[in-house]
C-alpha cells in the first residue's frame, strides 16, 4: 500500500486526474481552483501526463470545449469556482442532457457582489438543478479518492452523467494534508477505459443536441430525472468497491456519534470536521448530540437521510449559502421538504453561516445547538438565523 505524502489538496486532485488517464482538460483560471489546473498544465508540459490542455478564453468556453471532447469519446476533466461556475451555468444543463461523463471539481467560492474569493456554497447551490451528480467532500484524502470514483461513476454505461465534486475553497484546496495516493496499476484496474456508446464518428453519423418542441420536451426531462435518480445505486456500489479495494469507505450520508443523539447537526463539506470537535465538546458536558454529514447532494439521498434521523428530536441544518428573500438556506429547505410527508420527523431549524470564507469555530456549532433548542422552546421572530452576523 502506498504511503501517506504531505501535499496540497489541489496538487492531489491534479494527480487524480492524471492517474485516471484524463484525455482532455479545458479550464480557465479562477481562485481558489487555479492550483489544480496549474499542476495539470505542468504535468502535461513535462510529458508526465498524456493529455490535451485547452487554454480556453473563459469558463463558458471551458465547459463548451468539454462538451466537444466528451462528444468524441475523450475522457474529460475541468475545474472551476464561484464566478466561473456561474459563467458555465447554461452549458452545465447541456452536458447532463447529452449524457456526457465529464468530471469537474468545484473549489467552492462565494459569489459577487461584493467580490469575495473565499469559500461558501453559493456557487454550487445555484447549479443544484442542472442534472449533474454532485457531492461534497470533507478532506483532502476524500477529494482525491472521490475524484477517481467520479470518473468510474460518470462513465458507468448505466449512468453516463457528468459529475461534480465540491470541495471548500482555501479550507481544502490550499491546505497541505497527508494524502495516500494510489498506484497507477491499481487505478487502471478500478477505472476501465471509457467506452462511449454513441460518440461522434464519421462512419456512424449521429445527431446530438436536437431541438425538442413541447410534444417531447417533457419526456426528455422525465428520462433525465430517472437517470439521475437511478445513478445512486451505482454511486453506492462504486464507493463500496473503492472501500474494498483501497480500505477507505464512503457513504451518501455519514454519521458521527448519532446512536443515542436527540439533537443532530447537519453539515456539508469541510465544516463537518469542525462540527465533530463541537460534538465531542458538548458530549463531555453530557449533551446527547450527533452529526450528520451529507456527502451526496444529487441525487438526493432521501432514504438514507431519514434512516439516520429516526431517533432524533431535533435537526439543525447549516447552510453556507442564503436564498435571498426566500426560505433561508437551500439545504435546509430541501431537508424540510424531504421530511414533510414523514409521520415521525424531527423539529428542523436552519442556520446560515460560514459565508464568504467567514470561519465557523466549534463554538459556533455549540451556539447553533443552543440557539436551535431555544427556538424550539420559545419560537422566534427571525425569519433567517445567521450565525455570527454583526448587527
Amino acid at each position: 500500500m502506498a504511503q501517506k505524502i504531505g501535499m496540497e489538496v489541489s496538487i492531489a486532485l491534479g494527480e487524480a486526474a492524471k492517474l485516471a488517464n484524463t484525455d482532455v482538460i479545458a479550464a480557465y483560471p479562477i481562485t481558489p481552483q487555479t492550483h489544480i489546473v496549474e499542476h495539470i498544465a505542468d504535468m502535461v508540459a513535462n510529458g508526465e501526463m498524456d493529455a490535451e490542455f485547452i487554454t480556453v478564453e473563459s469558463e463558458h468556453s471551458a465547459m463548451s470545449a468539454c462538451l466537444g471532447s466528451a462528444a468524441v469519446g475523450a475522457r474529460t476533466f475541468t475545474a472551476t469556482a464561484g464566478q466561473g461556475l456561474e459563467l458555465m451555468h447554461e452549458v452545465l444543463y447541456v452536458a447532463s442532457a447529452l449524457r456526457f461523463p465529464i468530471v469537474m471539481t468545484v473549489a467552492n467560492r462565494a459569489l459577487s457582489g461584493p467580490l469575495n474569493i473565499w469559500g461558501d456554497h453559493s456557487d454550487v447551490m445555484a447549479t443544484r438543478d442542472c442534472g449533474w451528480i454532485q457531492f461534497f467532500v470533507e478532506n483532502g484524502q476524500e477529494a482525491f479518492d472521490l475524484t477517481l470514483c467520479a470518473f468510474r461513476i460518470a462513465e458507468d454505461p448505466t449512468v453516463m452523467l457528468p459529475t461534480m465534486l465540491s470541495l471548500d475553497g482555501f479550507h481544502l484546496t490550499h491546505v497541505v494534508e497527508p494524502i495516500t495516493l494510489i498506484e497507477k496499476s491499481d487505478v487502471d484496474k478500478f477505472i476501465p477505459p471509457l467506452k462511449h456508446p454513441f460518440a461522434l464518428r464519421p462512419d456512424k453519423p449521429v445527431t446530438m443536441g436536437a431541438f425538442a418542441p413541447p410534444f417531447i420536451y417533457t419526456e426528455t426531462k422525465k428520462i433525465a430525472d430517472e437517470a439521475l435518480r437511478s445513478s445512486k445505486k451505482v454511486i453506492v456500489s462504486v464507493w463500496d468497491e473503492f472501500g474494498k479495494r483501497f480500505g477507505r469507505h464512503y457513504n451518501p450520508v455519514e454519521t458521527y456519534r448519532t446512536e443515542d443523539a436527540k439533537t443532530l447537526l447537519l453539515t456539508m463539506g469541510s465544516y463537518s470536521e469542525t462540527a465533530m470537535v463541537a460534538i465531542d465538546n458538548m458530549r463531555t458536558k453530557g449533551e446527547k448530540v450527533g452529526l450528520i454529514h451529507l456527502r451526496l447532494w444529487r441525487p438526493f439521498p432521501f432514504a438514507e437521510l431519514k434512516q439516520t434521523t429516526e431517533n432524533a428530536d431535533n435537526l439543525f441544518v447549516l447552510d453556507r449559502c442564503i436564498s435571498l428573500g426566500g426560505p433561508g438556506g437551500p439545504v435546509c429547505s430541501e431537508i424540510k421538504a424531504a421530511f414533510y410527508d414523514s409521520q415521525k420527523k424531527p423539529s428542523i431549524i436552519g442556520f446560515i453561516g460560514g459565508l464568504g470564507g467567514r470561519d465557523m469555530t466549534p463554538g459556533d456549532f455549540e451556539y447553533m445547538t443552543k440557539r436551535g433548542k431555544e427556538i424550539i422552546q420559545h419560537g422566534t421572530k427571525n425569519e433567517v438565523e445567521m450565525i455570527g452576523v454583526k448587527e
Partner: protein, 316 residues
C-alpha cells in the same frame, strides 16, 4: 465578369451529387442560408464532424425525432460553437495519439449565423482562432437574428429595417455600418479567410475545400439571402447573391497566409440601388441615403483592391 471566375484554379469543377444536409428540413421557401449549408456540406464531404450554433439552420434541421444531417453533428448552445469545435479537435487529436481513433483526415467544422458569430459568439471564436485549432469555421451571414424574428445584429447593413432597428418617423432603420468579420478573422493571423456565396457555387465549394487543407484555423464568411427577413421574393435568392457581388456590397475574396485575392472583380460596380430595391427591408430609404451607402460601398471596395494590390507588389 463570369469569365474571371472561370479562371480560378478549380479543385472542383462540378457540384458533388452526394447530399449530407438533406431535403425535408423546415427552412423557408427560397432560403439562401439552407442552400449555402447544403453546398458547404457537399464540399466538406462525409469525413467530417460538425458543431452547429443555435439559429435558423439548427432549428429547421433537427426537430426531434427527425434530422436533416447525414454527417455527425452536434448542437449545444448559441454562443459557444467555436469552443465546442475546439474540444472536438483536441479530443480527436488525443484519441489519435493514444491509438483510439485511426481516421487521420476527419475535418472539424463549426457553423453559426451572423449573430452567433459577430455578436454573442465573438469571444469563443476569437479564442479558438488564436489557439490555432485545425478547424473550419463557417459563418452564414443573413444579416440579422432570423431565428428569433429578424432582430438586428452587428452585421445588419446600414439602413436595413429590422424588428429591433425598425425604420420609423425618426429613424432610417439600422444606424451602424456592417461589422467587418473577415477582417477580424484576418487579424488573428490564421492561414485562410474567405468570403463566399451560394450564388457562386463553384467558388464556394472550392473555398471550403481549400479551407479544409489548412494546417490551422480557417474562416469562411458566407452570404446567405433570407427572403423572410429581407422581405424579398423567394425566387430571387440567387439573383440577390449575384447582385450583392456585382454592386460591391459583398465582394468575393480570399486571404491565404495574409495575401489578398479578389476572386470576382467587376470591371465597374453596378449601382447599389439595383440590389436594394428588391428588398422590403430597404424600401423606406431615400435617394440621398442610397447615395451615402453607395459611397461607402465604393470606398470599401477600393480599400479591398488596395490591399490586394499591395500584396501583388509584395509577390513581385
Amino acid at each position: 465578369m463570369e469569365q474571371k471566375l472561370q479562371k480560378q484554379p478549380k479543385i472542383f469543377s462540378k457540384v458533388p451529387p452526394e447530399e449530407y444536409f438533406v431535403s425535408g428540413h423546415r427552412g423557408c421557401v427560397g432560403c439562401g442560408e439552407a442552400l449555402a449549408v447544403r453546398l458547404v456540406c457537399k464540399a466538406l464531404g462525409p469525413n467530417v464532424i460538425i458543431a452547429n450554433a443555435t439559429g435558423c439552420m439548427e432549428v429547421v434541421s433537427s426537430q426531434l425525432p427527425n434530422t436533416a444531417w447525414g454527417v455527425p453533428w452536434i448542437h449545444t448552445l448559441f454562443e459557444n460553437t467555436a469552443a465546442v469545435a475546439s474540444g472536438i479537435e483536441c479530443g480527436l487529436k488525443v484519441l489519435r495519439k493514444k491509438g483510439r481513433y485511426s481516421n487521420e483526415n476527419t475535418i472539424v467544422a463549426a457553423m453559426a449565423g451572423d449573430g452567433g458569430t459577430a455578436d454573442i459568439g465573438m469571444q469563443a471564436l476569437s479564442g479558438a482562432l488564436e489557439r490555432g485549432h485545425r478547424f473550419v469555421y463557417i459563418c452564414f451571414d443573413n444579416e440579422a437574428y432570423m431565428n428569433t424574428g429578424i432582430q438586428r445584429s452587428s452585421t445588419t447593413p446600414f439602413g436595413a429595417s429590422t424588428t429591433t432597428s425598425p425604420a420609423g418617423k425618426k429613424s432610417i432603420g439600422q444606424l451602424t455600418w456592417k461589422k467587418d468579420l473577415p477582417s477580424i478573422a484576418i487579424a488573428h493571423n490564421i492561414p485562410y479567410v474567405a468570403t463566399a456565396s451560394p450564388s457562386y457555387p463553384f467558388d464556394l465549394i472550392n473555398k471550403v475545400k481549400k479551407a479544409t487543407t489548412m494546417k490551422g484555423p480557417s474562416y469562411l464568411h458566407v452570404f446567405s439571402v433570407c427572403p423572410t427577413g429581407w422581405r424579398s421574393a423567394p425566387e430571387l435568392a440567387i439573383e440577390l447573391g449575384r447582385l450583392a457581388v456585382k454592386t460591391g456590397i459583398f465582394p468575393l475574396y480570399e486571404v491565404e497566409n495574409g495575401v489578398y485575392k479578389i476572386n470576382h472583380e467587376p470591371s465597374k460596380l453596378d449601382p447599389v440601388k439595383d440590389y436594394l430595391k428588391l428588398q422590403g427591408r430597404f424600401r423606406h430609404l431615400s435617394d440621398d441615403t442610397i447615395k451615402e451607402i453607395e459611397k461607402r460601398v465604393n470606398s470599401n471596395f477600393i480599400e479591398l483592391k488596395r490591399k490586394m494590390m499591395c500584396d501583388d507588389m509584395r509577390v513581385v
